[in-house]
Structure formats: structure tokens, C-alpha cells
């Protein structure tokens, strides 16, 4: 049951919701697609919270690529042994996790403490932050406490191959059986987070303006058919 639902059906459910709902919102609800900044109301705490959270989560994202998407064979091939890997994973991942958690806490309390921000925070806004805290808190706990006290779990042999197998549509769900409970919960709440993305303000991550440095500074737009040397 666990293998069939949580590690086979559930990830695809979340993935489908993510893709379909994101597409729907982008196409049909385009005017709601934005980074819902409250900087106009409050700047001081936003500076601390937002910078810590966003940079932390970018580092954490890179860390997850290194830990989950890149197979262990690659590390073995380039000669990174397990001790070195886990040292850097715990140090780097721990730092990123702490940045995310502290940043989220600052943003969370800012939502309560500042009257203008509080007046414009919706239930969805609180829920997003709480869920992110849950995901990031578990992840940071696993990295910093579990890995150093109970023992470094080699997720590159279990969670990594399972996650990659989802993309090839041949999920190797049996790999997840031996995974410690904390890691399992982290994976499940993360997938719920993925499914949440299109319904929350998190969609703005897909709009990070990477093309900005390469485009012309001045933008002109003309009506269709205008200025086509048509006389």
C-alpha cells in the first residue's frame, strides 16, 4: 500500500497538479501571476527575511540537485568520497537550511507584527509560509541534527534513484521502503508543496527574469500592421 500509493501514485498526482494547474493559471489567470511584494508597506524586516529566505532556498535548491538529481556514480567517478560529500552536504545544506528557516520565521512574524502587512496577508499567505517552514524545518533538522547524531543516511542510494526513476515513468518505489521515517515525511510534504505552487504566490519563481541581461534596454511595441513600410 505504502509503496503503491505514496511512492508511485502520489508523486504523479502532485506532478500532474503542478503542471496542469500552473499552465492553466499562466494562460487563463495571467493577471494574478506576480511576485506579491509587500515592500511598499514595510522594508526593514523584509530586507532581513526576504534576503535570507530567497538566497537560502536558492542554495538549498542547488544542494538538492547535487544530492538527488546527480547520481552517486558521478561523485565516485570524479573521486569525491562519501565522507567529503557528507561533510560538505551537512555544512552547506545546514547553512542554507538555517537561512531558509530563519528567513521564513522573520517573514512570518513580520506578517503578524506589522499592521499594514498583516492587513494584507491572506489565509493562503500564512499557509504557504507555514508549509514552507514545515518542509524546510524537516530538511534542516535532518541535515543538521539527524545526520550528525543518528548517522548520515545515504539518500543518494535510495531517494535519489527513486526520484529520478519518476521521470522515466518506471518508478522504483521499492527503494523507498528502507528510508527513515523523517526523510519519508520530508519527501511527502515536499510533494504537497509542489502541488501547492500553482495555487499560491510561489508561482513567481517561474518568472525569474533570466533574459533581462540580454534584452535591449528600450522596448518599443507597435500595433499589428503599423510601421511595416506599407504606405
Amino acid at each position: 500500500m505504502e509503496v503503491l500509493f505514496w511512492w508511485t501514485i502520489f508523486p504523479y498526482m502532485c506532478g500532474t497538479i503542478l503542471v496542469v494547474a500552473t499552465f492553466y493559471r499562466f494562460v487563463y489567470r495571467g493577471k494574478s501571476w506576480t511576485a506579491p511584494s509587500t515592500e511598499i508597506f514595510e522594508k526593514k524586516w523584509l530586507r532581513v527575511g526576504s534576503m535570507l529566505f530567497h538566497y537560502g532556498i536558492i542554495f538549498a535548491f542547488i544542494g538538492h540537485i547535487m544530492g538527488v538529481l546527480i547520481p552517486i556514480e558521478v561523485y565516485n567517478a570524479i573521486g569525491v568520497n562519501d565522507e567529503t560529500y557528507h561533510f560538505f552536504a551537512i555544512a552547506g545544506g545546514g547553512l542554507a537550511g538555517l537561512m531558509v528557516v530563519i528567513g521564513l520565521l522573520v517573514l512570518f512574524f513580520r506578517k503578524f507584527a506589522h499592521p499594514r502587512v498583516r492587513a494584507h496577508t491572506t489565509a493562503g499567505g500564512y499557509f504557504t509560509i507555514i508549509w514552507l517552514l514545515l518542509v524546510a524545518g524537516l530538511g534542516t533538522y535532518m541535515t543538521l541534527i539527524y545526520n550528525t547524531t543518528v548517522g548520515a543516511f545515504e539518500y543518494r542510494l535510495a531517494i535519489g534513484p527513486w526520484f529520478r526513476s519518476l521521470f522515466t515513468l518506471h518508478p522504483m518505489a521499492d527503494l523507498m521502503i528502507g528510508v527513515p521515517l523523517l526523510f519519508k515525511i520530508h519527501v511527502i510534504v515536499s510533494f504537497i508543496l509542489f502541488a501547492m505552487i500553482p495555487f499560491t504566490s510561489l508561482v513567481h519563481m517561474f518568472s525569474f527574469p533570466l533574459r533581462y541581461p540580454t534584452r535591449a534596454p528600450q522596448q518599443y511595441r507597435a500595433r499589428d500592421g503599423y510601421n511595416k513600410n506599407s504606405r
Binding site: K31, T34, P36, F41, M51, Y212, Q218, D224, R231
Partner: protein, 500 residues
């Protein structure tokens, strides 16, 4: 030569009485929605004063506009890479306190309160938080008519630059009104600041707009615009700005602020410019040369070569004709009495101002006995208003301000000599020479500045639609649209005559 047309505005500051009718009509049309209460696409500032938002001219703080480094234009707030690195927190953006916290009044209390001994009052209530504001400390036009006095005037960045002390005694001080809208610049720094590419300048008329579907709320336009005329709607989380009332101008009507202007200070017209010259014009070394270099961008709408080229590039005849009759072309380019606001920002703004003579004339106590030549020292002696105006309009070049003011004074003297008499004003007058003008030009100027009617003040060609293929459909879309088969796909059981 890449010819583009620009719908531009000139405001004649001498005629502005500071009644805020423009601001109020604009607000009622465009910004009376939740999220936009604090926003004024059009606002009128009393100068000297802090402006809206507070100290918007303080470029060290908000980092708006362009700077020249090694001969190249750069955004003062930093280029794309700097912006992407600071996208999670924009250090230079003004927060709501710099504008003001908008409020309404608790009018219901006047109806609902039980009968008592005291008179009920409607307390101010914030439209942001819904809480009562017991003591509003800043609001729209808080320092109107110098009411902030010696507390707010020194906060004016233009005043801070002045060498001399501004007298704040009632009899000695001066003041003027400065109505402001978006400048619809030729080299807009808000457009360049937008990471999403949502801001754009329209090819047909040069109006700068925000694409509400593309805006992602990154907020760099807010302080990227040195005039602080792009605003953040906290309700939709997107940027909004003055759109030059494009639904009206496309129909050939003036903007609502111009239409309702009580003093009739506003002029709207088309100018043609060469888009290829814009970058070079914005990149001249000395800020004082920016006024002249911007003038060099504009094209003479009477030049046959320009007309031929404009027609090739798709600018139709009614636009060229409008450019020839444009009051903006006359005031800004032909007579050179209108000046751009803060040319030193290098955005090549397109809302220009005829500087006011009144702060100077108010100080002349003996105008009855003054000879025509007497006006020259009168203008020269008013150093503080002149330097102040130069700080606003010519990047501190007082020579340009002096020339314009002398021309305005010459017009005043000439028209007084002509209609009232009692003053000697010959064609050889020194004032005429110093102002570098002729009586004929002065009379033309007086006509446009004082008596011009609606059709002379607003020469606006209608927006172009003839390139739309489905114009007929747009015009005649009928109520059975959803039921009937698409237009052009109807097969008739009977023969149709040609052209139907």
C-alpha cells in the same frame, strides 16, 4: 533616420493656480480603486517644497534615471545583473511613508451615533489597515501653498543645492505650482529598469505603458523612474502609471487633466523625432548640454525630406499635419520658451514647462514706472527664483532660464504697450535684443499663451486603425455573435452582389 511620432505636453506654469482640478479628475478616472488610493498619476506640487513622494528629486536616495560613466549610459540604480541580485529586496524603493498612508473618514459614525451633548466627528480611518489614524502626519499636498513653511521647504532637493538662503518671511518668499504627470520620456529609464520587459513605449505615439499581463511586480520601475511616476498597486501587486489617457488621445481628445484644467495651462501636440539620435542625445558629457541635445532630436515637420521619409515609415498624413500645427512644437522647439523637467536625468522627458514669470513679477513694486529696459535688471536681480527654476528645468543653466524669462517679459511689455499704452517699446528696444525675439513672434506667442482656443491648444490626431484587417467586424459585431457562424464563412442560398 528612424522617425517616430510622440504625443507630448507643455504646461504654462504662469497660468497654474494650483487648484488641483487636474489631480482630482485624474484620480476619479484612473486611481480610485483599492490598491491605488495613495497614487496620483497627476499631482500638483507647491514649489519650493518636498514634492510627492517626499524628495523624489533626491537621486542619491532613490537612484532614478541614468548616469554617464565613461561616455556610456548606465541606470543609476545598477544594470540588469545588479538588479537580479537585489530582486528580493529593492534597497532604493520608496515605501508608503514617503507617499502617505491614505485614509477615508468614518462617516457612518455621524449617522449612527446616539444623541449626545457633543457634536459627533468622523475620524480618519486608514484605507490600508482599516485602523483609525488619530494623528495623520503626512498626506497628499500636505505642504501645499508653503504651509509646511520653514519645516518642509529646506527638504526640497533643489533648495538644498542653492547657495543662498531662501527667505521664509511672508513678504520675501516666493512660490509656484508644478503639476506633474508621467513624462513619457524618449529614453525612459523605467522601461530599461523592468526585468520582465512589461513596460514599453508605443511606436505610434510614444506613450509609455505597463503590460498588466507581463508585469511580475519586481518594483524596479518605481525608483528607476527619476520622476517617481510609476506606482505599485498593492492590491494587484503590479505596477501602474499615467497612460496619457490613451483611450482619449486615440480618439483625438486631450487627456482628462488637460481637458479639465481651469487655468488652461496645458497644451498637447505631436512632435516627430529621430529615434536613432536618442541615445547619442542622452549621452552628452555636460548635463547643461542636454537641453540643446534633446532639441536636436526633434525633426522639422515642414521639411519636405522629413515628410517624405515619415510617410515611407508609415506615419500618415493626418499625423504629419498635426505635427505641423502642434502647439508643443511651437512652444518648445520654435520659440524655445518651454523647457524639459530635470533634463539631467538623461531620460529626455516629453512633458515640458514654460517657466513662470510671476515669482519675479511679484517682487516688482514699481511696474507702473518701469521702462521696457527696466525689466532686464528686474529679471536679473531675482537670483533665487532664477537659480531655482534652473535647477528644475535646465540642469542649473541660468542663462537659458534668463533668456526665456526675458522673452516672457518682453511679451508682457509688448502686449502692454500695444493694448494699454503708457510704455515706450520700440523695435530697437534693448529688451527685445536681449530676449532675441521680434514683435511678430511675441504676438504669436501671446496668442497661443493667452487666448488660444481648445482646438489650438490641443492638436491631437486620432489613433490609427486602418491597418486592422477586421475593422468592419469590430465596428459591427452584433448580438448574435455567439450563435452565428464566423464572419466571412457564411454561405448564402442566393447570389450576393459584389462588395457586400
Amino acid at each position: 533616420m528612424r522617425i517616430k511620432a510622440q504625443v507630448a505636453m507643455v504646461m504654462h506654469l504662469d497660468k497654474c493656480i494650483g487648484c488641483h482640478t487636474c489631480s482630482v479628475t485624474c484620480k476619479n478616472v484612473w486611481t480610485n480603486r483599492p490598491g491605488m488610493e495613495y497614487v496620483w498619476f497627476n499631482n500638483v506640487e507647491t514649489r519650493p517644497g518636498t514634492g510627492y513622494p517626499k524628495q523624489w528629486e533626491n537621486t542619491d536616495r532613490y537612484k532614478g534615471g541614468w548616469v554617464l560613466r565613461n561616455g556610456k549610459l548606465h541606470l543609476r540604480a545598477g544594470g540588469p545583473v545588479t538588479k537580479l541580485a537585489s530582486i528580493f529586496y529593492n534597497p532604493n524603493m520608496a515605501d508608503m511613508n514617503e507617499f502617505y498612508e491614505p485614509w477615508t473618514y468614518d462617516f457612518q459614525h455621524l449617522h449612527k451615533r446616539k444623541k449626545g451633548d457633543s457634536i459627533p466627528v468622523a475620524r480618519p480611518r486608514s484605507t490600508i489597515t482599516g485602523d483609525f489614524i488619530d494623528k495623520p502626519e503626512w498626506g497628499p499636498n500636505w505642504d501645499d501653498d508653503l504651509a509646511g513653511g520653514s519645516e518642509t521647504v529646506p527638504l526640497d532637493p533643489n533648495v538644498q543645492k542653492l547657495q543662498e538662503h531662501i527667505a521664509m518671511e511672508y513678504e520675501k518668499t516666493f512660490m509656484m505650482y508644478l503639476p506633474r504627470i508621467c513624462e513619457h520620456c524618449l529614453n525612459p529609464s523605467c522601461v530599461a529598469s523592468c526585468p520582465s520587459g512589461a513596460l514599453y513605449k508605443r511606436d505610434e505615439d510614444g506613450i509609455v505603458l505597463v503590460d498588466q499581463d507581463a508585469c511580475r511586480g519586481w518594483r524596479f520601475c518605481m525608483n528607476g523612474c527619476p520622476y517617481h511616476k510609476v506606482y505599485y498597486n498593492w492590491n494587484t501587486h503590479k505596477a501602474e502609471k499615467c497612460n496619457f489617457c490613451y483611450p482619449r488621445t486615440e480618439a483625438g481628445l486631450p487627456t482628462i487633466c488637460s481637458e479639465t484644467c481651469v487655468g488652461r495651462i496645458r497644451y498637447i501636440g505631436v512632435v516627430l523625432y529621430d529615434a536613432d539620435r536618442v541615445k547619442a542625445a542622452a549621452s552628452v558629457e555636460d548635463p547643461k548640454d542636454l537641453y540643446e541635445s534633446q532639441l536636436s532630436v526633434f525633426l522639422d515637420p515642414f521639411d519636405p525630406e522629413v515628410i517624405a521619409e515619415a510617410e515611407i515609415q508609415g506615419i500618415n498624413h493626418s499625423w504629419i499635419e498635426s505635427a505641423q500645427q502642434s502647439p508643443v512644437y511651437k512652444l518648445a522647439m520654435k520659440w524655445k520658451i518651454a523647457l524639459p523637467l530635470h533634463p539631467e536625468y538623461r531620460t529626455l522627458p516629453m512633458v515640458w514647462y514654460v517657466p513662470p514669470l510671476s515669482p519675479i513679477m511679484n517682487h516688482i513694486t514699481n511696474e507702473q514706472e518701469l521702462s521696457a529696459e527696466g525689466y532686464i535688471p528686474a529679471v536679473d536681480q531675482m537670483r533665487i527664483p532664477m537659480e531655482y527654476l534652473a535647477s528644475l528645468l535646465t540642469a542649473d543653466d541660468t542663462a537659458v532660464i534668463r533668456r526665456v524669462l526675458l522673452k516672457m517679459a518682453a511679451m508682457r511689455v509688448h502686449m502692454r504697450a500695444k493694448t494699454v499704452g503708457g510704455i515706450d517699446f520700440s523695435d530697437e528696444s534693448k529688451l527685445l535684443k536681449e530676449a532675441d525675439t521680434t514683435p511678430e513672434e511675441l504676438e504669436e506667442m501671446a496668442r497661443l499663451l493667452a487666448v488660444a482656443k481648445y482646438n489650438e491648444r490641443f492638436v491631437i490626431p486620432t489613433g490609427r486603425r486602418e491597418m486592422n484587417n477586421d475593422l468592419d467586424y469590430k465596428r459591427g459585431a452584433c448580438s448574435i455573435e455567439e450563435l452565428a457562424p464566423p464572419e466571412g464563412k457564411v454561405t448564402y442560398p442566393f447570389e450576393r452582389s459584389e462588395g457586400l
